[in-house]
């Protein structure tokens, strides 16, 4: 009985620490993604898009749609949209940031994490 209790406590503790670590890792990724979003030499996404939930970013770009509620989409879909949007939309103006090696896969993962977090 005592053992079971201990086990439960240990499991809960384990769960909490794991999610804390995960959250911390995600936080770092979100932060990196934001940097990619705003930096001219990286993603420069704000040039064309405004974004919901981050008033610190100038909301002036209106060539592409305003980014909102992106957590409604699977990560893989958003990744593909940024990696090579030509695959889903013919003649899109959006640059193939991954295919043309403007961003690394890791940077795109970070962007997706940031966008899903901020546009919730």
């Amino acid at each position: 009985m005592i053992d079971a209790k201990k086990l439960l406590v240990a499991t809960l503790f384990g769960l909490i620490t794991t999610s804390a670590v995960y959250a911390a890792g995600n936080e770092a990724l979100v932060k990196e993604g934001r940097k990619v979003f705003v930096t001219k030499k990286l993603g420069n996404c704000l040039a064309c898009h405004s974004v919901k939930g981050d008033p610190g970013i100038p909301q002036t770009g209106d060539i592409g749609p305003k980014l909102s509620n992106l957590n409604a989409y699977p990560k893989s879909y958003l990744f593909e949209k940024i990696y090579d949007p030509n695959k889903t939309v013919a003649n899109t103006l959006m640059p193939p940031m991954g295919r043309n090696h403007k961003l690394t896969k890791h940077q795109i993962d970070a962007l997706v994490a940031y966008l899903q977090e901020t546009t919730k």
């Binding site: 704000l46 040039a47 064309c48 100038p58 002036t60 770009g61 209106d62 060539i63 592409g64 749609p65 305003k66 030509n86 103006l93 640059p95 193939p96 043309n100 090696h101 403007k102």
Partner: protein
């Protein structure tokens, strides 16, 4: 009598077509008319046509910040023609236009005798000529730009050619542009090779390139009037009327080719060289698109 007049008119039109080779610009004319119409329709009523032309621009901003309808000549003014925030900002800047000093320098250079005692006026007795540049020289079988004409004048008079794109060359071109203000752009396509050069320039304008896989067209036709970062993207129609342009970003004057080379580089491509064939072809195509528009160079832009 009337019948006879019509007959004469018809014959002279046909012979005119044969003599002046109007057929060489048939495609270009079709392109130009559609190009102009695109801009006229787009800026006729951005509020009513939001869904078609400005889907992501907030409606309140279209109502508050956009001036419309625009007429053909309005496009000379670039984004200042429609975008109130820029227009107000530039009204202040142009109280004392920053191009005035380099323009004065250009006039002084134009009138300063070369070592042989002659001046630029020996080549340009009438300096109001910019409306005809760039032109296709059928004897030389190449496009001649106004910058080339300036440097060829120097070489003819025993002087060294100037560096293209900026500096003294841009200043002399600014003076020629100033003397040509109010003249209507008049680019001709005199033969088959000129039509080919036009087509090459057209392709460079419309075909996506660079690591961003974008084209001149995507930003300055399709996205003109939308905002890239905080700037309203300028229209390709009328773009060549303001050249050479004083750009605040450059802190000085630059020629049409300098501006175009920068634009090509911004797509993530290698920067084309000044006076290279593709850059001249692009300038030729783009200037043709604004045929009939009055010049107002030099001007100021961001």
């Amino acid at each position: 009598m009337l019948k006879k007049m019509i007959k004469i008119a018809a014959i002279s039109m046909i012979s005119g077509t044969i003599l002046f080779g109007a057929s060489f610009n048939a495609q270009a004319e079709k392109d130009r008319v559609a190009f102009v119409n695109y801009f006229l329709k787009k800026f006729e009523n951005p509020v009513a046509n939001k869904d078609k032309y400005f889907p992501y621009v907030p409606l309140e901003e279209l109502k508050k910040d956009y001036i419309y309808p625009l007429k053909f000549q309005d496009f000379q003014d670039g984004p200042l023609s429609w975008y109130k925030p820029s227009k107000e900002q530039f009204a202040e800047i142009n109280d004392f236009p920053p191009y005035e000093i380099p323009l004065d320098d250009g006039e002084a250079l134009f009138n300063k005798p070369f070592a042989n005692g002659k001046t630029y006026a020996s080549c340009f007795p009438n300096p109001a000529i910019k409306q005809n540049y760039p032109y296709y020289d059928t004897k030389r079988d190449e496009i001649v730009t106004i910058g080339m004409a300036v440097n060829e004048c120097r070489v003819k008079n025993g002087e060294k050619p100037l560096k293209y794109g900026k500096g003294d060359l841009a200043k002399v071109v600014a003076y020629l542009a100033y003397k040509s203000r109010g003249k209507k752009i008049d680019i001709k396509i005199p033969n088959e090779n000129a039509a080919k050069a036009y087509e090459a320039g057209k392709k460079l304008f419309y075909k996506q390139r660079g690591y961003l896989a974008i084209s001149c067209n995507e930003c300055h036709v399709k996205s003109s009037g939308k905002r890239l970062r905080a700037e309203s993207l300028s229209p390709a129609l009328g773009a060549t009327t303001q050249m050479p342009v004083y750009r605040i970003k450059w802190g000085g004057l630059g020629t049409l080719q300098r501006r175009l080379a920068g634009c090509v580089k911004d797509t993530g491509s290698e920067k084309p060289k000044m006076q290279s064939k593709p850059l001249k072809e692009l300038a030729y195509f783009l200037t043709y698109m604004s045929n009939g528009m009055k010049l107002f160079g030099p001007d100021t832009r961001k």
